[in-house]
Protein backbone atom coordinates (compact mmCIF):
# COMPACT_ATOMS: atom_id res chain seq x y z
CA UNK A 1 0.00 0.00 0.00
CA UNK A 2 1.30 3.43 -0.93
CA UNK A 3 1.64 5.76 2.04
CA UNK A 4 -1.48 7.82 2.82
CA UNK A 5 -3.68 6.01 0.28
CA UNK A 6 -6.39 3.48 0.78
CA UNK A 7 -7.84 1.55 -2.09
CA UNK A 8 -11.44 0.54 -2.23
CA UNK A 9 -12.47 -1.55 -5.20
CA UNK A 10 -14.79 -0.44 -7.97
CA UNK A 11 -18.48 -1.12 -7.83
CA UNK A 12 -20.33 -2.51 -10.80
CA UNK A 13 -23.68 -0.79 -10.15
CA UNK A 14 -24.70 1.75 -7.55
CA UNK A 15 -23.64 5.14 -6.20
CA UNK A 16 -20.51 6.93 -5.20
CA UNK A 17 -21.25 9.83 -2.91
CA UNK A 18 -18.39 12.30 -2.94
CA UNK A 19 -17.68 15.58 -1.15
CA UNK A 20 -19.53 14.58 1.99
CA UNK A 21 -18.64 16.89 4.85
CA UNK A 22 -16.04 15.06 6.94
CA UNK A 23 -17.65 13.06 9.71
CA UNK A 24 -21.17 13.05 8.26
CA UNK A 25 -21.07 9.73 6.41
CA UNK A 26 -22.48 7.74 9.30
CA UNK A 27 -25.44 10.13 9.50
CA UNK A 28 -26.07 9.51 5.81
CA UNK A 29 -25.71 5.76 6.33
CA UNK A 30 -28.42 6.01 8.93
CA UNK A 31 -30.84 8.27 7.03
CA UNK A 32 -30.55 6.27 3.80
CA UNK A 33 -31.45 3.23 5.95
CA UNK A 34 -28.42 1.39 4.60
CA UNK A 35 -28.31 -0.75 7.72
CA UNK A 36 -31.54 -2.35 6.54
CA UNK A 37 -30.30 -3.11 3.02
CA UNK A 38 -28.37 -6.20 2.07
CA UNK A 39 -25.81 -4.42 -0.05
CA UNK A 40 -22.11 -3.72 -0.03
CA UNK A 41 -21.24 -0.29 1.42
CA UNK A 42 -17.81 1.27 1.76
CA UNK A 43 -17.37 4.33 3.91
CA UNK A 44 -14.20 6.35 3.67
CA UNK A 45 -13.83 8.91 6.41
CA UNK A 46 -11.55 11.93 6.45
CA UNK A 47 -10.17 11.45 2.94
CA UNK A 48 -7.90 14.24 1.72
CA UNK A 49 -9.62 16.82 -0.44
CA UNK A 50 -8.05 19.77 -2.21
CA UNK A 51 -11.41 21.56 -2.14
CA UNK A 52 -12.59 20.67 1.35
CA UNK A 53 -9.43 19.74 3.25
CA UNK A 54 -11.10 16.58 4.53
CA UNK A 55 -14.14 14.81 3.23
CA UNK A 56 -16.05 11.55 3.48
CA UNK A 57 -16.84 9.29 0.54
CA UNK A 58 -19.36 6.47 0.34
CA UNK A 59 -19.65 3.68 -2.21
CA UNK A 60 -22.93 1.83 -2.27
CA UNK A 61 -23.37 -1.24 -4.45
CA UNK A 62 -27.04 -1.63 -5.28
CA UNK A 63 -29.47 -1.36 -8.22
CA UNK A 64 -29.68 2.34 -9.10
CA UNK A 65 -33.45 2.49 -8.86
CA UNK A 66 -33.22 1.02 -5.39
CA UNK A 67 -32.67 4.13 -3.41
CA UNK A 68 -34.38 7.46 -2.85
CA UNK A 69 -31.61 10.00 -2.67
CA UNK A 70 -33.84 13.04 -2.06
CA UNK A 71 -32.91 13.03 1.57
CA UNK A 72 -29.29 13.75 0.60
CA UNK A 73 -30.44 17.06 -0.81
CA UNK A 74 -31.89 17.89 2.58
CA UNK A 75 -28.81 16.84 4.55
CA UNK A 76 -26.30 18.51 2.26
CA UNK A 77 -26.96 19.47 -1.33
CA UNK A 78 -23.23 19.95 -1.97
CA UNK A 79 -22.69 16.19 -2.05
CA UNK A 80 -21.75 14.87 -5.50
CA UNK A 81 -23.73 11.78 -6.46
CA UNK A 82 -22.05 9.62 -9.13
CA UNK A 83 -24.26 6.97 -10.64
CA UNK A 84 -22.33 3.86 -11.64
CA UNK A 85 -23.33 1.20 -14.12
CA UNK A 86 -21.02 -1.46 -15.59
CA UNK A 87 -18.22 -0.08 -13.43
CA UNK A 88 -18.44 3.32 -15.12
CA UNK A 89 -19.84 6.64 -13.94
CA UNK A 90 -22.80 7.12 -16.27
CA UNK A 91 -24.40 10.15 -14.63
CA UNK A 92 -23.91 12.74 -11.96
CA UNK A 93 -27.01 13.65 -10.06
CA UNK A 94 -27.51 17.26 -9.03
CA UNK A 95 -29.00 17.42 -5.60
CA UNK A 96 -31.67 19.91 -4.75
CA UNK A 97 -33.62 20.63 -1.62
CA UNK A 98 -36.59 18.24 -1.66
CA UNK A 99 -40.00 19.92 -1.46
CA UNK A 100 -41.12 17.45 1.16
CA UNK A 101 -39.38 15.05 3.50
CA UNK A 102 -41.26 12.23 5.16
CA UNK A 103 -40.33 10.29 8.29
CA UNK A 104 -36.74 11.44 8.36
CA UNK A 105 -36.89 14.12 11.00
CA UNK A 106 -39.49 14.37 13.74
CA UNK A 107 -41.49 17.38 14.88
CA UNK A 108 -40.38 18.36 18.37
CA UNK A 109 -43.30 20.66 19.11
CA UNK A 110 -45.12 19.02 22.05
CA UNK A 111 -48.32 20.79 21.00
CA UNK A 112 -48.23 19.23 17.51
CA UNK A 113 -50.73 16.51 16.59
CA UNK A 114 -47.77 14.30 15.60
CA UNK A 115 -46.99 13.98 19.33
CA UNK A 116 -50.15 11.93 19.97
CA UNK A 117 -51.71 10.66 16.74
CA UNK A 118 -50.88 7.03 16.06
CA UNK A 119 -49.00 6.10 12.90
CA UNK A 120 -48.96 9.62 11.55
CA UNK A 121 -46.14 10.36 9.12
CA UNK A 122 -43.79 13.16 10.18
CA UNK A 123 -43.80 15.43 7.16
CA UNK A 124 -41.74 18.60 6.67
CA UNK A 125 -42.34 20.97 3.79
CA UNK A 126 -39.84 23.37 2.20
CA UNK A 127 -41.54 26.71 2.82
CA UNK A 128 -38.67 29.08 2.08
CA UNK A 129 -36.18 27.71 -0.50
CA UNK A 130 -34.07 30.88 -0.37
CA UNK A 131 -33.35 30.49 3.33
CA UNK A 132 -33.68 26.68 3.23
CA UNK A 133 -36.43 26.59 5.83
CA UNK A 134 -38.54 23.50 6.44
CA UNK A 135 -41.71 23.53 8.49
CA UNK A 136 -43.82 20.76 9.94
CA UNK A 137 -46.78 20.18 7.64
CA UNK A 138 -49.17 20.06 10.61
CA UNK A 139 -48.13 22.73 13.13
CA UNK A 140 -45.82 24.78 10.84
CA UNK A 141 -43.05 24.77 13.45
CA UNK A 142 -39.69 25.55 11.85
CA UNK A 143 -37.17 22.70 11.81
CA UNK A 144 -34.03 23.84 13.58
CA UNK A 145 -32.43 20.51 14.27
CA UNK A 146 -28.83 19.51 13.64
CA UNK A 147 -29.27 16.98 10.85
CA UNK A 148 -28.45 19.43 8.06
CA UNK A 149 -24.97 20.55 7.03
CA UNK A 150 -23.43 22.74 9.71
Amino acid sequence: MVKNTLNVGRISEGFVLDHIQAGRSMDIYKYLHLDKLDCCVAIIKNAKSSKMGKKDIMKIECPIDFMDLDILGFIDHNITVNIVQDEKVVDKKCLRLPNEIRNVIRCKNPRCITSIEQELDHVFVLTDPENEIYRCKYCEQKYDGRLRRR
Binding site: I113, Y138, C139
Partner: protein, 305 residues
Protein backbone atom coordinates in the same frame (compact mmCIF):
# COMPACT_ATOMS: atom_id res chain seq x y z
CA UNK B 1 -64.23 18.34 -1.71
CA UNK B 2 -62.94 21.40 0.06
CA UNK B 3 -61.97 22.03 3.69
CA UNK B 4 -61.07 25.17 5.64
CA UNK B 5 -57.78 24.89 7.51
CA UNK B 6 -56.39 28.43 7.31
CA UNK B 7 -57.84 31.81 6.32
CA UNK B 8 -55.39 31.81 3.43
CA UNK B 9 -57.06 28.74 1.92
CA UNK B 10 -59.38 31.14 0.11
CA UNK B 11 -58.13 33.57 -2.50
CA UNK B 12 -59.05 37.25 -2.18
CA UNK B 13 -61.68 36.71 -4.89
CA UNK B 14 -63.15 33.69 -3.11
CA UNK B 15 -63.24 35.64 0.14
CA UNK B 16 -65.06 38.42 -1.64
CA UNK B 17 -67.68 35.94 -2.82
CA UNK B 18 -67.97 34.42 0.65
CA UNK B 19 -68.44 37.82 2.28
CA UNK B 20 -70.96 38.87 -0.35
CA UNK B 21 -72.94 35.74 0.46
CA UNK B 22 -72.71 36.51 4.19
CA UNK B 23 -73.99 40.02 3.44
CA UNK B 24 -76.95 38.63 1.51
CA UNK B 25 -77.70 36.22 4.36
CA UNK B 26 -77.77 39.16 6.77
CA UNK B 27 -80.11 41.11 4.49
CA UNK B 28 -82.41 38.20 3.57
CA UNK B 29 -82.27 35.55 6.29
CA UNK B 30 -85.59 33.97 5.23
CA UNK B 31 -84.16 33.19 1.78
CA UNK B 32 -81.61 30.87 3.43
CA UNK B 33 -83.76 29.44 6.24
CA UNK B 34 -84.13 25.98 4.69
CA UNK B 35 -81.21 25.62 2.29
CA UNK B 36 -79.52 22.98 4.50
CA UNK B 37 -82.68 21.03 5.35
CA UNK B 38 -81.73 17.37 5.75
CA UNK B 39 -78.03 18.19 6.23
CA UNK B 40 -76.15 17.62 9.48
CA UNK B 41 -73.22 19.49 11.00
CA UNK B 42 -71.06 17.56 13.47
CA UNK B 43 -69.28 19.73 16.03
CA UNK B 44 -66.25 17.80 17.28
CA UNK B 45 -64.92 19.85 20.17
CA UNK B 46 -62.08 18.15 22.00
CA UNK B 47 -61.77 21.18 24.27
CA UNK B 48 -64.44 23.52 25.56
CA UNK B 49 -65.38 26.64 23.61
CA UNK B 50 -68.67 28.36 24.13
CA UNK B 51 -68.66 30.92 21.36
CA UNK B 52 -67.11 28.99 18.50
CA UNK B 53 -69.18 25.83 18.98
CA UNK B 54 -72.48 27.63 19.51
CA UNK B 55 -71.81 29.96 16.61
CA UNK B 56 -71.25 27.01 14.22
CA UNK B 57 -74.34 25.29 15.57
CA UNK B 58 -76.43 28.47 15.29
CA UNK B 59 -75.22 28.88 11.71
CA UNK B 60 -76.35 25.39 10.72
CA UNK B 61 -79.68 25.72 12.54
CA UNK B 62 -80.30 29.06 10.80
CA UNK B 63 -79.83 27.27 7.48
CA UNK B 64 -82.47 24.68 8.39
CA UNK B 65 -79.96 21.90 9.05
CA UNK B 66 -79.39 19.91 12.20
CA UNK B 67 -76.45 19.35 14.51
CA UNK B 68 -74.75 16.61 16.50
CA UNK B 69 -71.43 16.33 18.27
CA UNK B 70 -69.52 16.48 21.52
CA UNK B 71 -68.14 19.38 23.51
CA UNK B 72 -65.15 17.88 25.32
CA UNK B 73 -62.65 15.10 24.76
CA UNK B 74 -63.96 13.34 27.89
CA UNK B 75 -67.31 12.76 26.23
CA UNK B 76 -65.79 11.39 23.01
CA UNK B 77 -63.91 8.24 22.03
CA UNK B 78 -60.68 10.24 22.33
CA UNK B 79 -60.90 9.41 26.05
CA UNK B 80 -60.61 5.75 25.01
CA UNK B 81 -57.57 6.54 22.91
CA UNK B 82 -59.18 6.76 19.48
CA UNK B 83 -57.13 8.62 16.87
CA UNK B 84 -58.40 11.73 15.09
CA UNK B 85 -58.18 9.80 11.81
CA UNK B 86 -60.49 7.04 13.06
CA UNK B 87 -62.93 9.47 14.65
CA UNK B 88 -63.36 11.47 11.45
CA UNK B 89 -63.79 8.33 9.33
CA UNK B 90 -66.67 7.36 11.59
CA UNK B 91 -68.21 10.83 11.79
CA UNK B 92 -68.13 11.00 7.97
CA UNK B 93 -70.80 8.27 8.07
CA UNK B 94 -73.05 10.34 10.34
CA UNK B 95 -72.84 13.94 9.13
CA UNK B 96 -72.46 16.04 5.98
CA UNK B 97 -69.91 18.55 7.31
CA UNK B 98 -67.97 19.00 10.52
CA UNK B 99 -66.33 21.70 12.60
CA UNK B 100 -63.42 20.51 14.74
CA UNK B 101 -61.61 22.11 17.65
CA UNK B 102 -58.65 20.26 19.07
CA UNK B 103 -55.89 21.27 21.49
CA UNK B 104 -53.16 19.86 19.23
CA UNK B 105 -51.82 21.92 16.33
CA UNK B 106 -52.53 20.36 12.94
CA UNK B 107 -55.33 18.10 14.22
CA UNK B 108 -57.85 19.46 11.71
CA UNK B 109 -55.39 18.87 8.87
CA UNK B 110 -55.07 15.23 9.89
CA UNK B 111 -58.86 15.00 10.01
CA UNK B 112 -59.22 16.52 6.53
CA UNK B 113 -56.83 13.91 5.09
CA UNK B 114 -59.07 11.07 6.27
CA UNK B 115 -62.48 12.67 6.02
CA UNK B 116 -65.30 11.92 3.63
CA UNK B 117 -66.94 15.27 4.47
CA UNK B 118 -65.71 18.89 4.51
CA UNK B 119 -63.81 19.79 7.68
CA UNK B 120 -63.82 23.28 9.18
CA UNK B 121 -60.89 23.97 11.47
CA UNK B 122 -62.56 25.58 14.48
CA UNK B 123 -59.21 26.07 16.24
CA UNK B 124 -56.19 23.78 16.52
CA UNK B 125 -54.28 24.75 19.64
CA UNK B 126 -52.37 27.99 19.21
CA UNK B 127 -52.05 27.43 15.46
CA UNK B 128 -55.02 28.51 13.34
CA UNK B 129 -58.56 29.71 13.98
CA UNK B 130 -59.71 30.62 10.48
CA UNK B 131 -63.41 31.22 11.16
CA UNK B 132 -62.44 33.90 13.71
CA UNK B 133 -60.34 35.63 11.05
CA UNK B 134 -63.16 35.41 8.52
CA UNK B 135 -65.46 36.89 11.17
CA UNK B 136 -63.05 39.76 11.81
CA UNK B 137 -62.73 40.45 8.10
CA UNK B 138 -66.48 40.45 7.50
CA UNK B 139 -66.97 42.78 10.47
CA UNK B 140 -64.38 45.25 9.22
CA UNK B 141 -65.68 45.10 5.66
CA UNK B 142 -69.29 45.60 6.73
CA UNK B 143 -68.56 48.47 9.11
CA UNK B 144 -66.01 50.28 6.96
CA UNK B 145 -67.15 49.20 3.50
CA UNK B 146 -63.65 48.05 2.55
CA UNK B 147 -60.63 45.99 3.58
CA UNK B 148 -58.02 48.09 1.80
CA UNK B 149 -56.68 51.60 2.56
CA UNK B 150 -56.92 51.12 6.28
CA UNK B 151 -54.90 51.69 9.46
CA UNK B 152 -55.51 48.93 11.95
CA UNK B 153 -54.40 49.03 15.56
CA UNK B 154 -53.75 45.68 17.21
CA UNK B 155 -53.55 46.00 20.97
CA UNK B 156 -52.65 43.73 23.88
CA UNK B 157 -51.02 40.34 23.69
CA UNK B 158 -49.45 40.41 20.24
CA UNK B 159 -46.93 37.73 21.15
CA UNK B 160 -49.23 34.79 21.77
CA UNK B 161 -52.50 36.02 20.25
CA UNK B 162 -53.18 33.76 17.28
CA UNK B 163 -56.18 35.85 16.16
CA UNK B 164 -53.86 38.81 15.69
CA UNK B 165 -51.30 36.78 13.73
CA UNK B 166 -54.01 35.30 11.47
CA UNK B 167 -55.59 38.69 10.89
CA UNK B 168 -52.25 40.20 9.84
CA UNK B 169 -51.65 37.30 7.42
CA UNK B 170 -55.11 37.80 5.92
CA UNK B 171 -55.06 41.60 5.64
CA UNK B 172 -51.63 42.05 4.09
CA UNK B 173 -53.19 40.73 0.88
CA UNK B 174 -55.13 44.00 0.53
CA UNK B 175 -53.51 47.20 -0.76
CA UNK B 176 -52.42 50.01 1.52
CA UNK B 177 -53.19 48.38 4.87
CA UNK B 178 -51.07 49.77 7.71
CA UNK B 179 -50.69 48.36 11.20
CA UNK B 180 -50.06 50.02 14.53
CA UNK B 181 -48.86 47.33 16.91
CA UNK B 182 -49.67 48.34 20.47
CA UNK B 183 -48.20 46.16 23.20
CA UNK B 184 -45.93 46.13 26.24
CA UNK B 185 -42.33 45.19 25.48
CA UNK B 186 -42.86 41.64 26.81
CA UNK B 187 -45.79 40.93 24.49
CA UNK B 188 -44.50 42.38 21.22
CA UNK B 189 -45.32 40.71 17.92
CA UNK B 190 -42.93 37.78 17.25
CA UNK B 191 -40.17 38.25 14.71
CA UNK B 192 -41.60 35.57 12.41
CA UNK B 193 -44.56 37.87 11.84
CA UNK B 194 -42.63 41.15 11.84
CA UNK B 195 -39.80 39.98 9.59
CA UNK B 196 -41.37 37.20 7.54
CA UNK B 197 -44.71 38.87 6.88
CA UNK B 198 -44.56 42.63 7.42
CA UNK B 199 -40.96 43.43 6.46
CA UNK B 200 -40.83 40.95 3.60
CA UNK B 201 -43.94 42.39 1.98
CA UNK B 202 -43.00 46.01 2.73
CA UNK B 203 -46.07 46.56 4.84
CA UNK B 204 -46.08 49.83 6.75
CA UNK B 205 -46.28 49.40 10.53
CA UNK B 206 -45.20 50.99 13.76
CA UNK B 207 -44.80 49.56 17.23
CA UNK B 208 -45.97 51.65 20.17
CA UNK B 209 -46.49 51.04 23.87
CA UNK B 210 -49.07 53.71 24.72
CA UNK B 211 -52.59 53.11 23.42
CA UNK B 212 -53.29 56.86 23.67
CA UNK B 213 -50.56 57.58 21.10
CA UNK B 214 -52.11 55.25 18.56
CA UNK B 215 -55.83 55.99 18.92
CA UNK B 216 -56.09 59.18 16.80
CA UNK B 217 -54.58 57.42 13.75
CA UNK B 218 -56.76 54.33 13.63
CA UNK B 219 -59.66 53.18 11.47
CA UNK B 220 -60.04 49.96 13.47
CA UNK B 221 -58.85 49.06 16.98
CA UNK B 222 -58.58 45.31 17.57
CA UNK B 223 -58.27 44.61 21.29
CA UNK B 224 -57.11 41.27 22.69
CA UNK B 225 -57.16 39.64 26.08
CA UNK B 226 -53.96 38.78 27.94
CA UNK B 227 -54.37 35.05 28.52
CA UNK B 228 -53.35 33.73 31.91
CA UNK B 229 -52.43 30.28 30.57
CA UNK B 230 -49.64 31.81 28.46
CA UNK B 231 -47.63 32.93 31.49
CA UNK B 232 -45.26 30.82 33.52
CA UNK B 233 -45.63 32.90 36.65
CA UNK B 234 -48.57 34.63 38.22
CA UNK B 235 -46.56 37.80 38.90
CA UNK B 236 -45.94 38.49 35.21
CA UNK B 237 -49.58 37.84 34.37
CA UNK B 238 -50.83 40.22 37.08
CA UNK B 239 -48.45 42.91 35.82
CA UNK B 240 -49.61 42.49 32.21
CA UNK B 241 -53.30 41.77 32.49
CA UNK B 242 -54.43 45.34 33.09
CA UNK B 243 -51.73 47.01 31.02
CA UNK B 244 -54.38 48.29 28.61
CA UNK B 245 -57.86 49.30 29.63
CA UNK B 246 -59.92 51.00 26.97
CA UNK B 247 -62.40 53.37 28.59
CA UNK B 248 -64.68 56.21 27.48
CA UNK B 249 -61.98 58.82 28.14
CA UNK B 250 -59.54 57.11 25.80
CA UNK B 251 -62.29 56.65 23.20
CA UNK B 252 -62.49 60.47 23.02
CA UNK B 253 -59.06 60.40 21.36
CA UNK B 254 -60.33 58.23 18.52
CA UNK B 255 -62.12 59.33 15.39
CA UNK B 256 -65.91 59.13 15.18
CA UNK B 257 -65.74 56.10 12.88
CA UNK B 258 -62.99 54.08 14.53
CA UNK B 259 -64.63 50.79 15.44
CA UNK B 260 -63.48 48.60 18.30
CA UNK B 261 -63.28 44.85 17.72
CA UNK B 262 -62.44 42.06 20.16
CA UNK B 263 -62.53 38.29 19.58
CA UNK B 264 -64.09 37.86 23.07
CA UNK B 265 -64.22 36.86 25.85
CA UNK B 266 -63.26 40.24 27.22
CA UNK B 267 -61.97 40.59 30.77
CA UNK B 268 -60.74 44.02 31.88
CA UNK B 269 -59.22 45.35 28.67
CA UNK B 270 -62.43 47.06 27.55
CA UNK B 271 -64.31 48.88 30.26
CA UNK B 272 -68.04 48.05 30.31
CA UNK B 273 -68.82 51.77 29.85
CA UNK B 274 -67.47 51.53 26.28
CA UNK B 275 -70.26 49.07 25.38
CA UNK B 276 -72.66 52.01 25.02
CA UNK B 277 -70.41 53.73 22.48
CA UNK B 278 -71.74 53.22 18.93
CA UNK B 279 -68.17 52.43 17.86
CA UNK B 280 -68.07 49.35 20.12
CA UNK B 281 -68.49 46.58 17.54
CA UNK B 282 -67.47 43.43 19.45
CA UNK B 283 -70.97 42.10 19.97
CA UNK B 284 -71.90 42.86 16.36
CA UNK B 285 -68.73 40.92 15.51
CA UNK B 286 -70.20 37.84 17.25
CA UNK B 287 -73.30 38.22 15.05
CA UNK B 288 -71.18 38.50 11.91
CA UNK B 289 -69.48 35.31 13.06
CA UNK B 290 -72.74 33.47 12.54
CA UNK B 291 -73.33 34.98 9.08
CA UNK B 292 -69.84 34.12 7.81
CA UNK B 293 -70.13 30.57 9.16
CA UNK B 294 -73.50 30.21 7.40
CA UNK B 295 -71.86 31.35 4.17
CA UNK B 296 -68.95 29.00 4.79
CA UNK B 297 -71.15 25.95 5.41
CA UNK B 298 -73.09 26.67 2.22
CA UNK B 299 -69.89 27.16 0.23
CA UNK B 300 -68.23 23.97 1.47
CA UNK B 301 -71.43 22.00 0.84
CA UNK B 302 -71.71 23.55 -2.65
CA UNK B 303 -75.19 24.85 -1.93
CA UNK B 304 -76.26 27.69 -4.17
CA UNK B 305 -79.45 29.72 -3.91
Amino acid sequence: MRHLMSPLDFSVEELEKLMNLAGDIEANPEKYAHVCAGKKLATLFYEPSTRTRLSHEAAMLNLGGSILGFSSADSSSAAKGESVADTIRTISCYADICAMRHPKEGAALVASAHSGIPVINAGDGGHQHPTQTLTDMLTIRTLKGRLDNMTIGLCGDLKFGRTVHSLIHALVRYPNVKFVLISPEELKIPSYIRKDVLDRQNIEYEEVVRLEDALPKLDILYMTRVQKERFFNEEDYVRMKDFYILDSKKMELASHDMYVLHPLPRVNEISVEVDKDPRAAYFKQAQYGVYIRMALIMTLLNIEV
